[in-house]
Amino acid sequence: MSDRPLPLAKSRRDVFFEGIHDGIPIALGYFVVSFTLGIAARNAGLTPFQGFLASFFNNASAGEYAAFTVIAADAPYLEMAIITLVANARYMLMSCVVSQKFGADTPLIHRVLVGFDITDEIFGITIARKGPLNPFYNYGAMAVALPGWSVGTALGVIAGNLLPLQAVSALSVALFGMFLWVIIPTARDNHIVGGLVLASFIASFACANLPCLMELSAGTRTIILTLVIAGLGAAFFPLKDKEDCSHAA
């Protein structure tokens, strides 16, 4: 490259490839997990193309899983809107955090495109990267992570039909493994989060088994318990002023 202006200033192309580099391990992990998400999509009655669409425009494990339970239950459209909002509420927080990292003069189009794919993992590498946010870094990561996630889902819908029952049973817990990977390290380091996670397990189990409560759908249960438990947590254990919300990654 002879036209490189300064040794320290990276071109958009360099930053894009840096994003691809950091995005590859994410894409590989996504591929495996989204494959099992595809099995959930198949169980809900989606075609491979519908699974691809859902994953391309949502790229959210918990949110999509919750949405597929709504589709499987043939629940009202309003329930779909509410459960997607609740299951993906954390991206709202991440979006707030990422907005702080943009330079003030960043064009709107870059904010929209970066916002398109704020996931737990891409949020993590975005925040970890030093200096103001360079959208081309995110585009590089998205260029591998999005296909990994959406193609993996479509293949899961296809191959889920072909796999033996034992393999489907085994793969169907991969997604729960991802959930645990997100919640457990923070629960270990933050005793309040740890307590809330434990309370959530107990309350969720109780709601699924107590006579009068077990009639609630899994989606409604998730909404109610999230609002109540996180609300109580925020009321009784508010974050200290210094605590940065970027820890939510």
Partner: protein
């Protein structure tokens, strides 16, 4: 099936994209409200925990194998294993448990 799957997909995508893009484009200052900040901080952990248990025991052929995967997943995540390792371990535990117990 009374509802249209494409309508479901449109609603879920619109909500998800709004959640991700609107704060990024509109909010340029740090959220000050302490309750709101705390609530948003706790939400992901509570939601994921509620969705994990007891659902993990219903996803597998036998509840016991799901429970074993839960314990294995918590243990590995606790000691800082990667996303891939935690997910893979949960799958392997279920596969082996159902092979032995079946």
């Amino acid at each position: 099936m009374q509802h249209d799957i494409y309508m479901y997909l449109l609603i879920m995508s619109a909500v998800t994209l709004a959640i991700r893009i609107i704060p990024l484009t509109l909010i340029r200052k740090q959220i000050k409200n302490r309750f709101l900040r705390s609530f948003l901080f706790y939400v992901p952990y509570v939601t994921l925990a509620v969705m994990t248990f007891p659902a993990i025991m219903e996803a597998t052929q036998t509840p016991v194998s799901g429970l074993m995967a839960l314990i294995a997943g918590i243990a590995l995540a606790w000691y800082g294993a990667s996303l891939f390792k935690v997910s893979a371990a949960c799958c392997i535990v279920v596969f082996l448990a159902e092979l032995i117990l079946a």
